[in-house]
């Protein structure tokens, strides 16, 4: 019962993230939404580590890893975004098409 | 180095040397490109002459491991090997000689090519390697590899050095032949997977003794054999081409540079004949019998359809293209007869048409070069200005319509001789094609060479590019065939006459191959 609650939360969170990542045109929002999805995953990790079939410490470790990598990724992503913004004066995703044309 | 590998790959030397020549040095390129086609010619002729004096061609077989895939899960054998195997018999030898001869002549005729000569010759030589390899391969995988080499080389030669609609023609070529090859690949894959070998001789043995000892995989079911043969025939029908899969041929004939068409009409179409005989009749004789009637009917349709369409064309190249369709119908007629005369006729017709088509397109190249058009309605009375050229053109027309004493007749005679044994009524219908052949070839050639020398060229001059017309204004007289063009034409005419007068020349090397095949059919 408790597990289901956690999973439901993670699912909702993931879907919100996914929706945002797929539909928003502002890159910052997209990045935030990706963070939301990562956090949904983290919730799953921790929930399963506590209430799963084989409770243990592995899930916690993975969650920590994910947080660390998400931070790094956010840093790189935002750096790239800022570079892009300086160049093109925009942060819209669909305007990042200079390779296409 | 072994003989056959040398024969097949010797043009490679030319490609390598050409790479070091400056692209503007057209004289050296022409010279080197032509010289590179001579070694295979000499080697092929050597083999041909030796085989005439009792030399056994099997001695030339080569076989090496090429790819060794060890410990694959689905093959319980220790290793699965793809071998590099070359080997020839009388049938392939004829085609190899044809390829080598036409290769050299096409290289000589490439004098007319002015643009990007270096790349042109490199691809031309690659094409020759591919064609020689197709006939020399003793192994399905290598057959296919060489076939694809010709496909790519031909695609580029048409697409880059062709006429106004070259790209369309090249893509058409690629589309049809690519699909044909894909089908062929499926058949090859199934065969190899089912029998564990790609070697022709082993395949032959395996298919004929389905329960041979040591064979791992269950023999092909009867139904599977029909499907495989059907696939094979369809793949080669595209390459032949059989109506209604012929449209690509018409475009390629018209758009490709004439020396390339010499090779294309002369050799590439014949791969289909070779494939149908070697794989169709050779590997699936019993199943082929079931298809024979349909093939003969298709052949007659090809003959009449091509001939009737050739009647109406305005463009000489179109006439020749449809005449190719018609002549390839004779090949099908021979195969459909499925007796010795028929198969021999199919081979003869292939060789004969190779020579005749090469001659025709050699002359078409000269015509386009001199007058700037090959439109029949714009030409007339050329025999006055270009008597020697017209003489050759007339010879080509007579060869096309199957005049006895020239090669074409021998092919038609033997092929029809075959069909008259098995299906006389059908053969009689096909023989009507002989009348149409006379009509279309004489109409086209006489309109060009005979009649009034009206100043029809004047009007064509206006339509040509400014540079060209300027050149011809300063040089108002049309130049007749020159020595360097007349030599290949003369060689071709000599060969056409030789085959026509003494066909035993071709029948000799074929005899043993035919005997084996008839044994297969009779069994």
């Amino acid at each position: 019962m408790t597990l289901s609650a956690y999973l439901a939360l993670a699912l909702i969170l993931f879907c919100i993230g996914l929706y945002g990542a797929l539909t928003k045109r502002n890159t910052v929002i997209v990045l935030i939404c990706i963070e939301l999805m990562l956090n949904a995953v983290n919730i799953n990790f921790v929930a399963f580590a506590k209430y799963g079939a084989h409770p243990g410490v592995h899930g916690h470790v993975f969650a920590l890893f994910a947080i660390a990598i998400a931070a790094a990724e956010a840093a790189v992503g935002l750096a790239a975004l800022i570079a892009f913004y300086r160049n093109r004066k925009t942060v819209q995703v669909d305007e990042a098409n200079s390779l296409k044309h | 180095m072994s003989f056959l590998s040398l024969l097949v790959f010797s043009p490679l030397l030319g490609i390598i040397l050409l790479a070091f020549v400056r692209r503007t040095d057209t004289k050296t390129i022409q010279w080197l490109g032509t010289a590179a086609t001579v070694p295979p010619l000499l080697l092929a002729l050597f083999a041909f002459i030796r085989s005439g004096s009792g030399f056994r061609l099997e001695q030339l077989d080569e076989s090496y491991d090429w790819v060794r895939l060890a410990n694959l899960p689905f093959f319980t054998d220790a290793a699965y090997v793809i071998r590099y195997e070359l080997g020839i018999d009388g049938l392939s030898l004829l085609f190899i000689v044809l390829t080598a001869v036409l290769g050299t002549l096409a290289a000589v005729a490439s004098l007319l090519i002015k643009v990007e000569k270096k790349g042109y010759f490199m691809w031309l030589l690659a094409l020759e390697i591919g064609m020689l390899g197709v006939f020399a391969a003793a192994n399905f995988i290598w057959f296919f590899l060489f076939l694809e080499v010709t496909l790519v080389a031909m695609f580029l030669l048409v697409g880059k050095w062709g006429g106004f609609e070259r790209e369309r023609a090249a893509y058409g070529y690629l589309l049809y032949n690519g699909l044909g090859s894909a089908l062929l690949l499926v058949v090859i894959a199934v065969l190899v997977a089912r029998t564990g070998t790609a070697n022709f001789a082993l395949l032959h043995e395996t298919l004929h003794n389905p329960v041979a000892e040591g064979q791992l995989i269950a023999p092909l079911t009867a139904e599977a054999r029909y499907w495989l043969l059907g696939g094979l025939l369809l793949a080669f029908a595209v390459k032949l081409p059989a109506v209604p899969l012929h449209r690509w041929l018409v475009r390629v004939h018209v758009e490709a540079p004439p020396p390339v068409v010499m090779l294309h009409a002369g050799v590439l179409l014949k791969i289909a004949t070779y494939g149908m005989i070697r794989f169709g009749i050779g590997l699936f004789p019993d199943e082929f019998r079931a298809f024979a009637g349909a093939i003969a009917v298709l052949g007659v349709i090809n003959i009449l359809y091509g001939a009737l369409l050739a009647l109406r064309q305005r463009e000489l190249k179109h006439v020749l293209a449809y005449s190719s369709v018609s002549h390839m119908g004779v090949v099908l007629v021979g195969l459909g007869a499925l007796n010795e005369a028929g198969i021999q006729g199919a081979v003869f017709q292939s060789v004969a048409h190779g020579l005749i088509a090469a001659l025709s397109f050699l002359l078409v190249g000269v015509l386009a070069n001199r007058i700037g058009t090959t439109d029949i309605h714009r030409l007339g009375g050329l025999a006055k200005a270009m008597p020697i050229f017209s003489g050759y053109l007339l010879t080509a027309a007579l060869a096309l319509l199957g005049l006895p004493g020239l090669a074409g007749f021998v092919g038609e005679l033997t092929a029809f001789l075959g069909l008259f044994e098995t299906k006389p009524a059908l053969a009689a219908a096909g023989a009507l094609g002989l009348i149409f052949a006379a009509v279309y070839s004489l109409r086209a050639i006489l309109d060009i060479t005979f009649g009034h020398t009206r100043e029809r060229y004047e009007s064509t001059l206006g339509l040509r590019g400014a540079k060209e017309s300027a050149a011809s204004v300063s040089e108002p007289r049309v130049i007749d065939l020159q020595a360097k063009e007349a030599v290949p034409a003369f060689v071709l005419v000599a060969l056409i006459v030789a085959v026509g007068v003494y066909p035993q020349l071709l029948a000799e090397p074929l005899a043993t191959v035919l005997e084996t095949m008839m044994n297969g059919l009779g069994g």
Partner: protein
């Protein structure tokens, strides 16, 4: 000597090859190459004939091509028939070679002309020597080639071009019949050799139906080549060629090849009643049919051309009536007198530079050699007694009578009447009356007159090799002594004589003395006259039926090719490229779209997974 018979055709072949290579350099000397080569041929042919006189039939064969166990051979044979034909052909060819030296003098392509003559003579001699059907077919087509090249000799004339093309195609139609018949025979008898075929006919290997079928198919070839109805229309047009060519090819030799072929295959024909009947009827019909057209032509060569067709019809009639000897006899005499007539006509044309007989007249004095020689030829072809034509025509009439076909007999008699009428119409219009042309006409040089004189002598003398009075040399020779002359009723000769004299008389009344107005016939039956003048509309009939049909089918197929076949291809390529462009619309470079597609795909997979409850495979 007979074992060397193969050299006979070789000389003209050498002449052809040499003149093709060096003719441009030799120019006028080319004529001597040709003349010497044919003279050598003639001498060799005479040697062969002499050898055959003392010996029997000789045959030699070599392998030409092997097909499995079957060996096709090439070779030559010397029988009575072909030894005789060799001499006739070589002789006429030699005379024409000499004549052409004068006639073609000054032509730009003088050497080419001689080269073509050489090629033709080679092919014709080769045809005669052939021991089997296949080889005969090969040379059969090659003589057609020679004819084609020579008809189209004046290639810059549109008419010559059309005539050459027509000649080749019309004879090709016949040849295909020959081809089919030949191949059918091969599978019945397993051989192309005449002897094997006759053996098969004799021992019944060949069923009667098959015999008739193949005989008629091969006869179609003869119809084409010998200008028989209904494939005759090319022969009058072939008169576009130089006149010596008309004499050699379209009068004396090639057109007689059809007759020769049927004669060479005579045992095959004899075995089939229906085939014999076909040959006889076609021959008889052609004889009268062409003769009527000949009545109203105004071109001197066309009159002679229709007369040739008519005479060839006579020969076919003789063959069909079972008289092989009469046909060959008439073939021989016809070769001489028709060659003479053509050469004389050439001499006239040479003198007045026109072929229209309305523009000639009064040439008797101007052409002191040509005119009497033409008269000899005309008397001979009309069948006036003591001339060669009389004897050979008489044989044919007798044969037709003895064969029991009364209708054909009277048809032939009527044709004989017409023949003498139109020949003398020609004679009176050209040589008598007042001159209707400008400029003066000169007699031809001796190189042209000489051959005509020789032919003139032969047009009389050649009749005496087979007469009721001095014995049947030719008959005995051709049948190796087995010949027995069936006595024909004596009145036949009388009828023939009367008929020919009446024809001459009528012509004299109309065109010589002019007591009967010239438009007597055309005024009374204008439609009939028009019908004749337009050659019974045969050409128009072909144009509106066969030609129209073929070109309709061809046009139809062109549309099928362009729209249906190409359309299907377009449909396929169109579908593929439409699918491709639809696919590439998804490939828009937007990571978000890709993500959405990925999620959608994943969702579908999850749903499927959930529904099926596990892996399938």
């Amino acid at each position: 000597m007979m074992n060397l018979a193969w050299v006979v055709p070789l000389f003209p072949l050498c002449s052809f090859a040499l003149l093709l290579l060096f003719g441009r350099k030799w120019k006028k000397a080319s004529a001597y190459v040709g003349i010497v080569a044919t003279l050598l041929s003639l001498l060799a042919a005479l040697g062969v004939l002499a050898g055959r006189l003392g010996g029997t039939t000789y045959e030699a064969n070599w392998t030409w091509m092997q097909i499995g166990d079957v060996t096709l051979t090439a070779g030559f044979s010397v029988t009575a028939l072909n030894a005789w034909m060799l001499v006739v052909v070589a002789f006429v060819s030699w005379l024409v070679h000499i004549y052409s030296q004068g006639y073609m003098a000054g032509d730009e392509r003088f050497s080419t002309f001689y080269a073509y003559l050489g090629l033709f003579t080679f092919a014709m001699l080769g045809l005669v020597l052939s021991p089997n059907l296949l080889q005969a077919y090969i040379f059969w087509e090659l003589v057609g080639l020679g004819s084609f090249l020579l008809i189209g000799f004046y290639f810059y004339k549109e008419e010559a071009k059309a005539a050459a093309k027509k000649a080749f195609i019309m004879t090709r139609i016949g040849d295909v019949g020959f081809f089919i018949g030949m191949l059918l025979l091969f599978w019945q008898t397993k051989s192309f050799d005449y002897d094997d075929i006759f053996r098969a006919v004799g021992d019944g290997t060949l069923s009667p139906g098959m015999t008739t079928l193949t005989a008629i198919l091969i006869f179609i070839g003869a119809i084409g080549k010998s200008g028989q109805f209904p494939l005759h229309t090319w022969l009058p047009d072939a008169m576009e060629g130089p006149t010596p060519v008309s004499a050699l090819i379209h009068a004396a030799t090639m057109v007689a090849a059809g007759v020769y072929l049927v004669a060479a295959l005579f045992p095959l024909y004899e075995a089939s009643e229906a085939a014999m009947m076909t040959v006889a009827v076609i021959g008889g019909v052609t004889a009268i049919f062409a003769a009527t057209i000949g009545l109203v032509q105004t071109d001197i060569k066309r009159v002679l051309a229709y007369s040739t067709i008519s005479q060839l019809g006579y020969m076919m009639l003789a063959l069909g009536s079972g008289s092989y000897v009469a046909a060959i006899f008439h073939l021989t005499t016809h070769a001489f007198f028709k060659a003479l007539l053509f050469l004389a006509a050439g001499s006239v044309i040479h003198a007045v530079h026109t072929q229209n007989i309305e523009e000639m007249g009064g040439l008797w004095r101007r052409l002191p050699w040509t005119a009497p020689l033409f008269l000899v030829g005309a008397l001979s072809i009309s069948g006036v007694p003591l001339f060669a034509g009389f004897f050979s025509k008489d044989e044919i009439l007798a044969a037709a009578w003895l064969n029991g076909s009364v209708e054909l007999f009277w048809l032939a008699v009527a044709a004989a009447l017409l023949t003498s009428f139109y020949m003398f119409r020609l004679f009176f219009l050209v040589f008598t009356g007042e001159a209707r042309h400008d400029g003066d006409a000169h007699e031809a040089p001796m190189s042209m007159v000489g051959p005509m004189v020789v032919l003139g002598v032969l047009s009389v003398a050649s009749g005496y090799i087979q007469t009721p009075w001095f014995g049947s040399f030719l008959g005995e020779w051709l049948t190796d002594g087995a010949y027995h002359h069936e006595a024909a009723p004596g009145w036949i000769a009388v009828v023939a004589t009367i008929v020919s004299l009446v024809g001459i008389l009528l012509a004299w009344l109309m065109y010589g003395k002019r007591t009967v107005p010239r438009d007597w016939l055309s005024a009374r039956a204008p439609h009939g006259y028009e019908l004749l003048r337009r050659h019974y509309y045969v050409d128009d009939f072909y144009r509106w039926t066969v030609v129209a049909l073929v070109s309709f089918i061809s046009r139809l197929l062109a549309y099928v090719d362009r729209y249906l076949v190409e359309g299907i291809v377009r449909l396929v390529t169109g579908t593929v490229s439409a699918a491709a462009s639809a696919g590439s619309r998804g490939q828009n470079g937007q990571a978000q779209t890709y993500g959405a597609v990925t999620v959608a795909g994943l969702a579908i997979l999850v749903v499927i997974f959930a529904l099926t409850g596990g892996y399938w495979l």
